[in-house]
């Protein structure tokens, strides 16, 4: 039950993108069309879950016993970069079309602050292995949901007649703000 609460809490109440404001770069960059946003969500989910797991193992089996916690950020970045490289190889093999669509944003998952953020939050909240896994998966799912919702909204906006002052990025930013307000409505639910 605790895990379920943690999961729902991470997906909706403490949504990584709209409440904690991490990972805004792909939110603006890859949300132009729905299928690319979905693919990006999937790829990030894969990376986030794996890196949450791997960073917990590194933290508790390597850094803490050897008292080298000062290497935390460095080693987490190393492990995230490796997981992203691995994901890119897999995506390239399994879906060349998605690989082409995501383009430079796939390797840029490395610098997605949500991924490093989740790994560091896991340490700060002193989560256990299963809890970090649930937290990582929840964050990733929250990220994917927001990506898909936002891409859908932007596809509608592309069809609408927007005043010239707001056309393009401004209206997207306003939309992201409104979406964030909606997600703030979940606060206090758990």
């Amino acid at each position: 039950m605790d895990y379920l609460l943690l999961f729902i809490g991470t997906v909706l109440v403490n949504n990584i993108v709209l409440v904690k404001f991490l990972g805004l770069c792909p939110l603006m960059g890859v949300s132009n069309n729905l299928s690319a946003a979905f693919g990006m969500g999937l790829a990030t989910t894969f990376v986030l879950t794996l890196s949450a797991l791997a960073s917990w193992i590194i933290e508790h089996l390597l850094l803490v016993p050897l008292h080298i916690e000062f290497l935390r950020i460095l080693s987490f970045i190393l492990i995230i970069a490796a997981v992203v490289q691995f994901t890119e190889a897999v995506v390239r093999k399994t879906s060349p079309l998605l690989h082409k669509n995501l383009g430079v944003f796939l390797p840029l998952i490395t610098t997605n602050c949500a991924v490093l953020g989740v790994a560091l939050l896991n340490v700060r909240e002193e989560y256990s292995l299963v809890q970090s896994l649930v937290f990582g998966m929840g964050s990733a799912l929250g990220f994917s949901i927001v990506m898909v919702i936002f891409a859908g909204l932007r596809e509608r906006i592309a069809m609408a007649s927007v005043p010239a002052t707001f056309a393009g990025t401004p209206v997207s930013l306003v939309t992201a703000g409104l979406l964030s307000l909606v997600f703030m409505g979940f606060s206090g639910m758990i």
């Binding site: 590194i58 080298i68 460095l74 080693s75 190393l78 490796a82 390239r92």
Partner: protein
């Protein structure tokens, strides 16, 4: 300090080894000839050959699904180098589509800059409310400018004959 150095080195080596392994397992077989052909093509993705872009056309050419002379912007020079690369007899090919060049009717052009923004090869020069002109050396005849021109003042014409474009006509069948 030695512990930290050792740990990071070991971590880097281990991850590098795993990635090398993954690169081998998930290797994508790419035909090197396709990349060579694609490098020869103009790369403006104009779609005049009937394929969605130059990379798709290159793949089709290597597989033999497209004739090497199907690229109008490339013209005769491209056909010759492709035929040499893919070892195809030039005489076996049918008539090639003639390369086209865009020309702007200066009496109708209003200088709206729409064509100039649409041009994938930057072959149109001009500025707002100035009459635009086409640099014929850079034009690939992709007709993208023709589609966006609100005055309908752009026309596509066959390239004028020069020493580089002229070739012997085929002998008439008896």
């Amino acid at each position: 300090m030695f512990v930290a150095t050792l740990v990071l080195t070991a971590l880097g080596l281990l991850l590098g080894w795993l990635l090398g392994l993954a690169a081998r397992v998930f290797a994508v077989e790419e035909n090197p000839i396709v990349n060579e052909v694609e490098a020869l093509l103009p790369g403006t993705q104009c779609g005049q050959c009937g394929f969605p872009g130059c990379s798709a056309a290159a793949e089709a050419m290597v597989e033999g699904n497209a004739a090497v002379n199907c690229c109008p912007p490339g013209g005769r020079a491209l056909t010759e180098s492709l035929a040499e690369l893919l070892n195809i007899d030039l005489n076996s090919l049918g008539d090639a589509p003639v390369p086209q060049l865009a020309t702007i009717d200066e009496t109708l052009c209003t200088g709206c800059t729409k064509c100039y923004k649409a041009c994938p090869t930057d072959a149109i020069v001009g500025a707002t409310r100035q009459i635009h002109a086409v640099i014929s050396k850079a034009c690939t005849g992709c007709s993208k400018c023709k589609d966006v021109c609100p005055e309908d003042c752009i026309s596509l014409n066959p390239e004028p004959l020069t020493l580089n474009t002229w070739h012997w006509t085929k002998p008439e069948a008896a």
